[in-house]
Amino acid sequence: MTESMDQLTLSCPNCAQAVAESDRYCEECGIDLTATRAAGADPRAGAAAALAAAELSAAPDPLAVALCPDVTFGATADPEVQLGAGTAGSAAAAEFAGGSAFGAGAPAGAADPTGAPSAAGLGAGGAAVPSGATGDFVLAAPLLATEAEVGVAPVAADPWSGVPSGDARVCVGCGAQRIDTDGYCEVCGLAQPRPRDHQERALNGVCGVSDRGHRHHRNEDAFAVAATSRPDGSPAVVAVVCDGVSSATRPDEASQAAADSASEALLEALEAGEEPEAAMVRAIMTAADRVDALADEFEREPSRNSPACTIVSAVLTGGRVTVGWVGDSRAYWFPDDRSGSQRLTVDDSWATRMVEAGLMSEAEAFADPRAHAITGWLGADAVEVEPHTMSFVPQTPGTVLICSDGLWNYAEGAVDLAAVVPADARTKPLQAAQILARYACDRGGHDNITVALLPVDPVEPPEPTLPDHPPTLVGESLDSPTIQLREGES
C-alpha cells in the first residue's frame, strides 16, 4: 500500500498547533481540547457537524467550536480509511469530519452521493502517486492521466466546523430543523451557509481555499485549480483567483465565470502545447469576454455597473512559473526559507498609480480611502483589458501564492505575508491555504478571502528554454527572481 504523503493529524481548534489525539490540552495555547472534541456545532456549522454532534449526543453549544483546520493532502491509497474516519462515530471521528477536507468529504458521501465518488476519485488518483516517504512534494504524474476534475475533491464545507449536506438541515442560527428550499430558516429567517461561503479544492500540485469572511454576506471571490499534461507528457498545474467588484451587478457570477473560463482556456492551450505566457494572455482575454457577455444576460440593476472582477492566475509547468493578472489580486513567491520572498504582481489600483507617479508614499497611498479603487478589471465597463504577465524559473523549493485582497489586506508586504505562510506550506499546501484564510478571518475577515497555492520543487532540472520565450530569471539570483512586467498583447 502506498503511504500517504502526510499523516492525518489533528490540530488545535484555537491556534492550529498540531496535537495528538490523546492530548488533553494544546501545548501552544493551553485550550482544553477535550471540551472542543465533545463539540457541538459551531454557530456556522453545517448539518454534518450537527449530525456528528447528534451521534455524540452532545448538545449544540455555540461556544464549542469544532474547528480543526488540519487536513490530509495528497491522499491515501485507500478511500475506506477516510470513510472510516468519517463514520466511526467517535469523538475523534467527529474531529476528523469537521477538520479534514477529505474526511469531511466522507460523511458527506454517506448522505450525499456526490461526496463519495469525489473522495474515492481522489484516493484513486493518489494511489498511483509515487511513494512520498520523504514528505517531499512530488507532482503527481499519474493524476495527469485522468481528467483534472476526477482529482478534484470539492468540499462545499466550512472547514472550521463541518459539512452542510443531506436533508436533515439544521439552522445555523437557531437550531431549528426547518430550512426552506430557498435556503432560509423558517423560524429565524437566517440565510443558511451556501456552497460558495466556503470552498476548498485540492489536487496534487495545486489547491485553493475561498471563504466569505465575516463582513460580507456572500462570497464574491471565486477560484479554479486544475492539472493537466503538456503534449510531451510533462505535468502542468493551473490556479485562477478572481475577486468580484462589489459595486457592480452580480459580482459573484462575474468572478465564477472568469475563474472557470480562464482555467479552461489555460488547460486547453497548455494541452495544445502553447507557451504558458501566450496561453495566459489568451486565457485572461477569454475570461474578459465571458464577463463582458454577462452584462447582456440579465437586466442590469439600476445604478450599478456591469458585472466585473479582477483576475490573477498562475501556471506551473516545466519548472517555470507564469503569472498573469488584471486588477489588485496578487501573486507572491515564497521560497522555503522565506528569504527572498517576493510579490510577483503590480496592482492595477489607485494606490499603485499614486506611488508610481511619485505623488504619495506607499503607506500614504494605502491609507487613503481610494486605495482599493482598481484601475483595471474584467467587465463590460472596462475600456481596454491589458493582461500583465511575468514568469520565472525558481531555483529553490518554495510556494507560489495567489490571492484576493481579502488576504493581503492583512499582510500587504511579501515579508509580512511570509511570516504568516506556514513553514510547511509547500508540503501541506491545503492546510497552509486554510490557515491563511483563517488568518484573514481572525483579523476581521472584512472581505472575501481566496488563496491558492502551487508548491514548487525544482528537483528535476527545468525544461530547456525555448528560443522564442527566454526565461526572465537570470542564473545568479537564485532566491529573488527579477520581475518583468509585460503588457499583454490584446
Partner: protein, 447 residues
C-alpha cells in the same frame, strides 16, 4: 367549483423592490411589493357578449344600492341622474352575472328583483330592472348600515358565487344611524363582499364614506355634478365585471422576533391594511386585498427585525398571495422575498430604494392633505397652510399631477419647490371635498 377550471383565472406575479442593505444595528426593513394579475381575461370582453359563465351558474354578483333619502330630490336632477346612472350600470352587467337593485333610506327596500333574491343578467332581466327603477323615489332618511345588511342578505342567497360586489351611492351623511351601529355592521359584513362608494353632491362626509369603502376594500369617489353619474357608474360596473378572483389575501411571513410595522396598499390608492391582519400559521398573517381583475397594485411592507451582525443575511419577510378555493382550501400563489443584509458599506446601506422613497412620499402626501383639510375645518389656518404647502411640495416632487391640480384649486401655489402656498379665499365645498376624497390617489414611480 367552476371558477377555477375557467381559463380566466389570473396569473399573479410578485415583485419586490427594496434596498436589503442595513447598517450595523439597523432593524427596519422596507419593501415595495408589486402584485400584478394578468390573464383574468374578462376585462376586455364586452358586456352581453354571451359570457360562458351562464352555463354553470353565475361567477359574480352585484348589488346596486341607491340613496333614496328625501334630500335626493333637492335638486330633483339628483334622483333623475341617479336613476339614469343605475340604468347604465345595469346595461353593463354581463350576461349570466347575478344582480339586484336596492333603494336605500333609513331602511333598505328591494327594487329588483325582490324577494331577497338575485336576478341572472340577460337582456330580458336587465330591461325589467331598468323599468323598475321608476320605483326609486326620494323620501326618508339615511341609514347606510341597513343597506349593507340588505346587500349581505341578498348575496348570501348565492354562497356559490365568489365575486360579490356592491355599488353604493349616497348624497348625505349617515344621519339615521349611530356611528357605532354602522361600525358594527361593517365589522359583520367585511370580507363577505366588496363595495365601491360614491358621494353625489357635497353634503356627504368624506371620512364616513371612506370608512365604508376601506372596510369593504373598494374605492370611494366624489361625483359632485349629478350629470357625471352615468359615466362613473358605467366605469365602476365594467371594472367590477373585470374581476376574476375574489378574497385574495397578501400573506406576510416574518421570522421569529420580528414585527410587521405596517402593510399599506400604496397604489393605485393608499390604504392601510395593518389592522386587517388575520393569523395564518406560525409567524404569518393574511391581509385582505379583495377581488382582482387584470390589474397591478403596490404594497409597502415595513418589518422590524432583530438586528444581526455585519455580514449576516436574513429573510425579513416572505410575501405571497393566497387565493381561496371554493372547497374551502386555499392556494399560495407566487411569492417574493424581502431580505435584510447587514453591511458596513455605508454606500450600500444609506441608499433608499427609489420605490420605497416614492411611496413613502405618496403616503405622506395623502396624510398631509387630510391633516391640512382637517385643520382648515377646525379653523386652524396656520397648520392647514403648512400641511397643504408640504402636500404641494410632495405632489410636485413626485410628479403626481392630478393631486397637484386638485391642490391648486384649494391653495394658491406661490412656490411649489419650497411648498409656499396661500389658502384661497373662495374655496368651494366641491373642490375641497374632491381634494380630500382623492388625496389617497398615488402615481407610480417615474421611469
Amino acid at each position: 367549483m367552476a371558477k377555477l377550471t375557467k381559463s380566466n383565472f389570473p396569473q399573479f406575479s410578485v415583485d419586490i423592490f427594496q434596498n436589503a442593505y442595513l447598517a450595523q444595528g439597523a432593524n427596519e426593513v422596507n419593501a415595495i411589493v408589486t402584485v400584478t394579475a394578468t390573464g383574468g381575461g374578462t376585462s376586455a370582453s364586452l358586456p352581453s357578449a354571451g359570457y360562458g359563465g351562464a352555463l354553470d351558474g353565475p361567477d359574480a354578483a352585484v348589488v346596486i344600492a341607491v340613496d333614496c333619502s328625501g334630500s335626493m330630490d333637492y335638486p330633483p336632477t339628483k334622483i333623475r341622474n341617479a336613476r339614469e346612472a343605475t340604468a347604465v350600470a345595469i346595461d353593463s352587467v354581463r350576461d349570466g352575472v347575478a344582480f339586484a337593485v336596492v333603494a336605500g333610506t333609513h331602511e333598505a327596500k328591494e327594487v329588483y328583483p325582490g324577494g331577497g333574491q338575485l336576478a341572472i343578467s340577460s337582456p330580458g332581466t336587465r330591461e325589467e330592472a331598468k323599468q323598475s327603477l321608476r320605483r326609486l323615489t326620494p323620501g326618508g332618511g339615511t341609514a347606510i348600515g341597513t343597506w349593507l345588511t340588505k346587500a349581505d342578505q341578498i348575496f348570501s342567497t348565492r354562497p356559490d358565487v365568489s365575486i360579490r360586489h356592491a355599488i353604493l351611492l349616497t348624497d348625505g351623511r349617515n344621519e339615521h344611524e349611530r356611528p357605532d351601529q354602522l361600525q358594527h355592521t361593517l365589522d359583520r359584513v367585511q370580507g363577505r363582499f366588496t363595495a365601491d362608494c360614491r358621494g353625489v353632491g357635497t353634503d356627504w362626509e368624506v371620512a364616513e364614506l371612506r370608512r365604508i369603502s376601506s372596510a369593504l376594500l373598494g374605492s370611494v369617489d366624489i361625483v359632485a355634478d349629478p350629470s357625471g353619474l352615468a359615466a362613473d357608474f358605467q366605469a365602476m360596473m365594467e371594472k367590477a365585471m373585470g374581476k376574476a378572483v375574489a378574497d385574495v389575501a397578501l400573506r406576510v411571513w416574518t421570522p421569529a422576533n420580528a414585527q410587521v410595522k405596517f402593510v399599506k396598499q400604496v397604489a393605485p390608492v393608499v390604504e392601510d391594511l395593518s389592522g386587517r391582519r388575520s393569523d395564518a400559521g406560525p409567524r404569518a398573517g393574511d391581509y385582505p386585498t379583495g377581488s382582482w381583475g387584470d390589474e397591478s397594485r403596490d404594497y409597502h411592507v415595513c418589518i422590524e427585525v432583530p438586528p444581526a451582525g455585519v455580514g449576516d443575511e436574513m429573510l425579513a419577510g416572505r410575501i405571497s398571495l393566497v387565493v381561496p378555493h371554493p372547497d374551502g382550501t386555499s392556494e399560495v400563489l407566487s411569492q417574493g422575498l424581502v431580505k435584510a443584509v447587514w453591511t458596513d458599506d455605508l454606500n450600500a446601506s444609506t441608499k433608499i430604494n427609489p420605490q420605497v422613497a416614492h411611496y413613502t412620499g405618496q403616503a405622506e402626501l395623502a396624510g398631509a392633505i387630510q391633516e391640512g383639510l382637517d385643520a382648515h375645518r377646525r379653523g386652524d389656518l396656520d397648520t392647514a397652510t403648512a400641511k397643504l404647502g408640504k402636500a404641494v411640495q410632495l405632489a410636485a416632487d413626485s410628479g403626481n399631477e392630478d393631486t397637484f391640480k386638485l391642490l391648486s384649486k384649494v391653495v394658491d401655489v406661490v412656490d411649489a419647490k419650497e411648498g409656499t402656498v396661500r389658502f384661497r379665499k373662495d374655496v368651494s365645498a366641491e373642490d375641497s371635498m374632491t381634494l380630500e376624497t382623492r388625496s389617497t390617489k398615488t402615481v407610480r414611480v417615474k421611469k
